[in-house]
Each structure stands twice: as C-alpha cells, then as structure tokens.
C-alpha cells in the first residue's frame, strides 16, 4: 500500500538592500524592507493565497485522506506576520485540519550545518519553538536548508530528538537503489530518512510548463500512471518541491492549479495508493537499508551538491567572514544584532553570488535580487564592514560566570564593566570572573 508524500518548501529571505559605501558605520539598516514587502505581497498573491485555498479545499473534500506537509522558514514566517498576516492565518487554518504536518528547518534557512554546529542547533530549536507557537504542534521531522545532508548532519539532527529527516534522492549516492523506500542514516539510531523522488518531483516543479519536454503537457492521468508504476517496487513516492511552484514558478495559466486539484482522485484510481505525511510514512514502512552519504548533497542544481552556495572565492570568503562574527555577536548580548547577523546567514545571499553560468545560471539569475553575483558580494562586504564597526563601538559586555551561592566566598563578585581590557583576574580573586 504505497503512499504519496508531499512536502512543500516555503521560504522568503530578507534580501539585503543596495548598501552604499557611505552607509558603512552610519546605518544599521541592512535589508530592503520595501523590496521584501513587495515580493512577499507579490508571491502571496500569485502563490500562497490561491494555493492555500486550494489545499484547504482538497483537505475538506477528502477528510482524513488528503495529506501534505510544509516547511516554512522562520524568516518567511516573520515576513508573513509583518507583511501578509492573512497568509500566516491561512497556514494556521491548514494546520488546524490535522491533515497537514509542519516540518522544522533552520530558522534562518542557513548553511549553519556546514559551518557551526552550535548555531545549527540553536536555529533549529528556535524554528521548532516558532512552529509550535504558530501551528500548535512540536515538529518531529526535520529538513535541512535546501535538503543539504550528510552522515554528520544526520547525526546532529538525531541528537536533537528528531524522528524523521528528509533529503534528496541523489543518484550517485543511491546507485541502483530506489528513493521510494524508507531508509536510515549511516550512523542512524532509529531516525528515518525519506528521499526525494527527484524525477517525479521535478516533473511538476520544473518541467510542468516546459514545451520542449516530450511529455508536455502533463496531464493528471499521465502523472498518476507514473506514480502507480512504483506499486510493488516501492513504499512511498516523495514529492518534495518549492511551494512557489504553484502560481509563481509555474504560473496559473499553465494549468498547475487544475493539475493539483485533480491529482488526489487520479492517484486513488489505483486502490492501494494513499497520501501520507513524512512522519506517517516513517512510521508505516520499515527502513530497508542504511545509506552512506559522507559528502554533503543537496537538492539544488544539476550537481545536487553545494556548488550553488559555495565554491567561488566570493562565496567562500563572505560566508567564512559571516561566521567569524559569532563570538563577538554573542558576547555583545544584543538580541537585535544577533537576529540581524543570523539573517545574513540565509543561504540565498550566497546563492546570489554564484557564478556558474551554464543552464543553472539562468535559474540563479531568475531568483536573484541583484544585477550580478558581484553586486551581492560587494553589498555583503559593505554590510559586514559596518557590522565590524558596530561591534567595535558597542560597549563590550564582559561575560561573567558566578559560582552557585554555596561555593561563593564572602566577597561580592566583580561586576561586569569594572574590568579593564586585558586584565586577567587571578585565581581565587573575587568569585570567579573570566574575561575573553
């Protein structure tokens, strides 16, 4: 009894504004509020609103039977709350049906998994709490930014208590194996792994309106036939895609909404098929094997690797610089600064800097807020230079560590701020204050 498992990615970055050199040291406004609002509003109109209405309609029409899942990045949720609160409410309405699973990712849609394990964990926790806050349930399924996955990342995720994780079904990793089964991570201790069926997912997400494609136009029947063909050779068809596929990447006039509306019944024409959420799939089917993925994979571009965000000197140097700020930012104790810094970690900024100009270049360009990869590098350099200056200017909060009362001597601990720079407090003096 195979399942069709839909997972939709919803994400909007905080795009950086064109931050001129003269603003360095002068303006802490890094993001293009106007453009972000406009894009959020535009995508809401083209995609989020009509698609949420459609999904709600399908769920109500097929109670208990039609199921889907979402991962909405924290920065997207924030922008919905500020710019298009009705969109957030419609997601909450979907959550209330009980037929929708909400998945956790890094709050900032960042590449922290590759650079800073501590940040990775903190951003996951923050997202988990946010999802629980808005949608009422603590997620147990995790998907990393752009489905970036490796044995090591899976380890960290399982440590945090997640039961299911999603990633790309990359050919070079799977070899002869099929993505249509439940797997386990190489060092797994019970966490399940669901792999994207990229062929069928991309038929909808990328090829649906491509007139040069031999299977264009894609009818619901044709697609359902392809899904049905796995019967007997798989347990689940994992259709993972950007939610913006509906109405934004594939415009309404391509027929994408009608396709989706008719899909459930077409799938059910084969009596053994059902719809399930990722955590249901993980529970329903036993894992068939462990997969060894030592080097990171992703769902992006032809290479399904990290080359969309990393690899050219502009990307590598910028991201390394961003993560260098961690200690200083956290020591400053400034929540606003921390939030801004984390928004700069969003993977999109590095995606814009990509200079691969084969077929993927077109996709990058379509999604870029800037004229060229160099522009976004220059802007980020300006912003990070400003951040550097702000940190120099902000009064340094001296981190203090106070022993529990029962271990304290009578003298009061040294207060923060009374230490001179570089002075080392000797052992035993005044409680135990340490200084960076």
């Amino acid at each position: 009894m195979p399942s069709v498992c839909f997972y939709f990615q919803v994400h909007q970055p905080y795009r950086m504004r064109h931050y001129p050199i003269f603003d360095i040291g002068e303006s802490p406004n890094y993001f293009d509020d106007k453009a972000n609002r406009e894009i959020c509003e535009k995508v809401a109109e083209k995609c989020y609103r009509p698609t949420n209405v459609l999904m709600l309609e399908l769920i109500h029409r097929y109670p208990g039977a039609f199921k889907i899942s979402y991962s909405i990045s924290g920065v997207a949720l924030e922008q919905f709350a500020e710019y298009t609160p009705d969109v957030l409410e419609s997601f909450q309405a979907l959550a209330a049906t009980g037929q929708v699973e909400f998945i956790t990712e890094t709050y900032y849609h960042s590449l922290a998994a590759l650079f800073n394990a501590g940040e990775f964990r903190e951003q996951i926790r923050k997202h988990q709490a946010t999802v629980q806050h808005y949608f009422g349930k603590k997620p147990t399924t995790f998907r990393n930014t752009e489905l970036i996955y490796s044995n090591g990342i899976a380890d960290m995720v399982e440590d945090l208590g997640f039961e299911t994780m999603l990633t790309e079904g990359v050919d070079r990793v799977l070899g002869w194996r099929s993505p249509n089964f439940v797997y386990e991570p190489w060092h797994g201790r019970g966490m399940k792994l669901l792999l994207k069926n990229y062929k069928l997912s991309d038929d909808i997400a990328f090829r649906f309106s491509q007139r040069s494609w031999k299977d264009w136009p894609l009818s619901t029947e044709k697609f359902a036939d392809w899904v049905h063909a796995i019967d007997g050779g798989g347990d689940t068809v994992n259709l993972f895609m950007d939610y913006e596929t509906f109405g934004e990447h594939q415009w309404a006039d391509t027929g994408i909404f009608d396709f989706m509306r008719a899909l459930p019944e077409a799938i059910w024409r084969h009596p053994s098929f059902n719809f399930a959420t990722p955590s249901e799939v993980a529970k329903m089917y036993p894992p068939v094997a462990k997969v060894d993925i030592p080097e990171a994979v992703s769902w992006a571009d032809e290479g399904r690797d990290l080359s969309a965000w990393l690899g050219n000197p502009m990307q590598d140097a910028s991201i390394a610089w961003v993560y260098k700020f961690e200690r200083q930012i956290k020591d400053s104790g400034d929540e606003n600064l921390l939030h801004q810094w984390r928004k700069l970690q969003t993977s999109d900024h590095f995606y814009y800097m990509c200079t691969k100009y084969w077929s993927d270049g077109d996709v990058h360009k379509y999604f870029s807020a800037y004229d060229s990869p160099h522009d976004s590098y220059v802007i980020m350099s300006n912003i990070l230079t400003d951040l550097e200056i702000r940190l120099k200017k902000s009064p340094k909060k001296v981190p203090t560590f106070t022993l529990p009362t029962e271990f304290q001597k009578k003298k009061a601990p040294v207060k923060a701020g009374t230490l001179k720079k570089g002075r080392v407090i000797k052992k035993g003096a005044a409680g135990a204050a340490t200084q960076q």
Partner: protein, 427 residues
C-alpha cells in the same frame, strides 16, 4: 568645438575636461558652439550652446561625403550588411540608432557618422574661426568641417586636442582602426594640443607628429567651485582608507591597485582599500580580491556622480592613481582639492604639474606600498602634502588652462595662410 560628451551625461574625464576648458574660455570672451553626438536632457549650464549632432539632417553633405569617401562608404555598408538595398537616408538613420543604443559599431562608422553631422552643422553655421576637436571620435568631424569652410572660402584651422590616445587606453592591444583614425586626424590637423608633455612625447614617438606642431595645455580644476565638506564618516575613524577612483579598465591599472592592497594589508591589516568605478575589469577585480583574501579589506562602489565624488575623496586618507598610461588624470587634482594626498604613477601627465604628488612606477608594488604606508602614518608628511597640494592648485585652474589655450588659438590663426584662389573652371 567638437566633443564626445559633456557632464552630467559623461562617462569619464573627457567630459569633465571639456566642460572646464569651455567655461574658462567663455569667461575670456571666446564664443563656443559645442557639438556632442546627442544631447540626452537639460544641461545645467549656459556658458555655451550645445548642439546635438543627431538632430541635424545634412543630406547634401552626407551625400557628398559618402560619395567622396568611398572606402568608408564600403565599410559602412559592409558593417551593416545592407549593401545597396537601402537608401542613404536609411543608412544614416541606422547609424544614429546604432550610436544611440551604444551598439558596438566599427570606429570608422562612428567617426564617419559624426563627421557627416559636423559637416552639416558647419554648413548651417554662419561664421566660425576655429575648429577644435576633442579625441579620435571627432577628428574626422574636424576635417569635414574644415572642408566645408574651405568650400565657403574660409581657411579655418582645425585643432586636434588629445586627451587620450588608443595607446593609453589599451596599450599594445589597441584597436588598429581607432589608431588609424587618430593618425589620420592628427596629421591632417593644423595644430595639435596635448594635455601633458607625457602625451606630447607619446604623440611624437608613436604617431610621428612633429614636436613643433604640438602645444601642451595642462588640464585644471574649476576655480569657482569648492567641494562641499562632509562630516567624517564613522568608517574613517576606525580605518586608514586608500582610494581608487576611475574607470576599471586596463589603462587605469585597477589590477595594480588590487596588488597594492594585498601588499599593504599583509603588513597592516587595518587599512581599507576602496575602489570606485565601473568598467570591463570590475568583475575581475572583485573576484581577484576575494581570491587573494582581501574580503573585508577591499570595498567596492560603482561609478559615483555629483557630490558623492567629493564625499569619496574626503573619506580617503590617500588617493592612488596607478594608471598604466595616463595623459593627464584630473581625478588627482580633484582629490587634492578635497584635501586628500595623492600618489600617481610616473606614467601620468598630472605628475608634471605638482611637486606635492607622490610618484611611483605603476608596476613597482613594493615602492608603492612604501609610499602608501608613509603617507598614511607620517602625520607631518601627510599634512605637508595636503597643504602643498592646496597651494599648487591655485595655478592649476581652468582659467589658467583657458588662457594658454587662447594663446594657442592666436598663434595658430596667425600662422594660417589665406586660401589660394581657385580658378572658376575648377568647380
């Protein structure tokens, strides 16, 4: 006067120089008509009349010129691949469109088109005593206008003013077509004006122009405009700042600036380098800086306009112009005007006009590094450069340049021979 651009619709120093020089000349009672390929909007000055070449229809002259310059006509039709299928008028229209859209058009076509329009303008202008043409694009125009005047019976001199040559812009990889136009124009000119002795020598050596035919008139800065003074930007309080400003093309040596940044910041990581400008080497410079570890030490800005330019100079503790070959380099004077000490390459004309400019060979990164560090960290030296720069600028105004220019005009007019009478049967 035949020009290529005039601020605010300019892409570089040529427009700035033409504006400064014409302001100086008109304050000395020289009446100027200034021709540009096209006027794109309202111009914020009224010391001279600016004519838009694209707006003139000069069919008869066009026909005459096209018939005479049959090699060029061949060239045009060949380049546009229309052969004889279209009329002359249509060809002209196409040329205008090509030039306005900045489509890559062969230099001969651009120059010929401009020459046709210049001839039309000369035809419709009652009286002019001198034809003064700025850089290669306009040299054919100067020749064509002179032909028109001669036909009317006036022997009007054509002065070619060299702000830059193709050899400066592109070194040995220059476009041979442009070099040919330059050579033709400079030899045809009655007199040549160079913006520096550096350029005069280059014209003599590489274009075979006799030294006696070349006068040097150095560029200047406007005396009446003092730059707006900006507050000290926070960035400057934390870092020493070294500035590059100019087109990012091979001529301006932006790649040497990147190398300099690497050498200096390896020694002193607290210095920040700033590159302002656009050009075909911009992306390469950005990628190269990231590749060699200058991220965070090298900042970029695209081309700036208006008072943002002064703001950038004031942001800097030192201005560096590492040009590979720079006929003059007005930017250096602008930097001095903003109180920013200047380091230029020995291969620049501006090096001739002030002793308060540091001079180093553009390729000598070690020497440049030494000069940069001493300029940044020796307060006495820094102050002396700044003060000396202000003083030198007193004599480096456009008024001075215009006075010299006017003297050249007078000299050239005196040396012109009256036209020989043509026997009536010759026409």
């Amino acid at each position: 006067m035949l020009g290529w651009e005039i601020p605010p619709f300019n892409s570089g120093g040529l427009g700035t120089a033409c504006l400064g020089l014409t302001e100086g000349l008109s304050s000395q009672d020289v009446d100027i008509r200034f021709v540009v390929p096209k006027v794109f909007g309202k111009l914020p000055f009224n010391h001279m009349k600016v004519l838009s070449a694209a707006d003139y229809s000069g069919e008869s002259q066009l026909k005459a010129l096209l018939e005479r310059e049959d090699i060029q006509q061949e060239f045009i039709t060949h380049q546009l691949a229309y052969g004889a299928r279209i009329s002359l008028d249509e060809k002209k229209q196409l040329l205008v469109e090509h030039i306005n859209q900045n489509l890559p058009v062969a230099p001969h076509i651009q120059a010929t088109w401009y020459a046709q329009q210049a001839a039309a303008i000369a035809e419709q202008t009652e009286h002019f005593e001198i034809i003064h043409a700025h850089d290669w694009f306009t040299y054919y125009g100067g020749m064509a206008a002179r032909d028109v005047a001669r036909r009317k019976g006036h022997n009007v001199p054509f002065i070619a003013h060299v702000h830059a040559t193709e050899l400066d812009r592109s070194g040995e990889n220059g476009d041979p077509a442009i070099i040919a136009i330059e050579r033709t124009g400079l030899h045809a000119a009655d007199h040549v004006v160079a913006v520096s002795h550096y350029t005069k020598e280059l014209l003599h050596r590489r274009y075979n122009i006799p030294r006696a035919k070349i006068s040097v008139v150095h560029n200047g800065i406007p005396s009446h405009k003092q730059p707006e003074v900006f507050d000290i930007q926070e960035l400057k309080k934390h870092h020493k700042i070294v500035l590059f400003m100019g087109r990012m093309t091979m001529q301006k040596g932006p790649d040497y600036f990147v190398k300099l940044a690497k050498a200096v910041t390896d020694e002193d990581p607290n210095v920040r380098f700033v590159m302002v400008g656009s050009g075909d080497m911009e992306k390469r410079c950005i990628e190269e800086s990231a590749r060699i570890g200058l991220t965070g030490k090298m900042l970029f800005s695209s081309f700036l306009r208006g008072n943002s330019v002064d703001r950038a100079y004031q942001l800097a503790d030192l201005f560096v112009m590492p040009s590979v070959s720079e006929p003059f380099g007005i930017v250096a004077l602008e930097a001095m005007q903003n109180g920013t000490p200047v380091l230029v390459s020995n291969q620049s004309g501006v090096a001739e006009v002030s002793n308060n400019i540091m001079k180093v060979d553009f390729w000598d990164i070690e020497a440049m590094k030494g000069s940069v560090l001493s300029a940044l960290y020796d307060p006495n030296f820094h102050a002396a450069m700044k003060q000396g720069g202000y003083e030198d600028l007193q004599n480096l105004t456009w008024d001075h340049a215009a006075a010299k220019m006017k003297a050249v005009y007078e000299h050239v007019l005196q040396s012109m021979q009256p036209l020989q009478l043509q026997p009536a049967y010759a026409s």
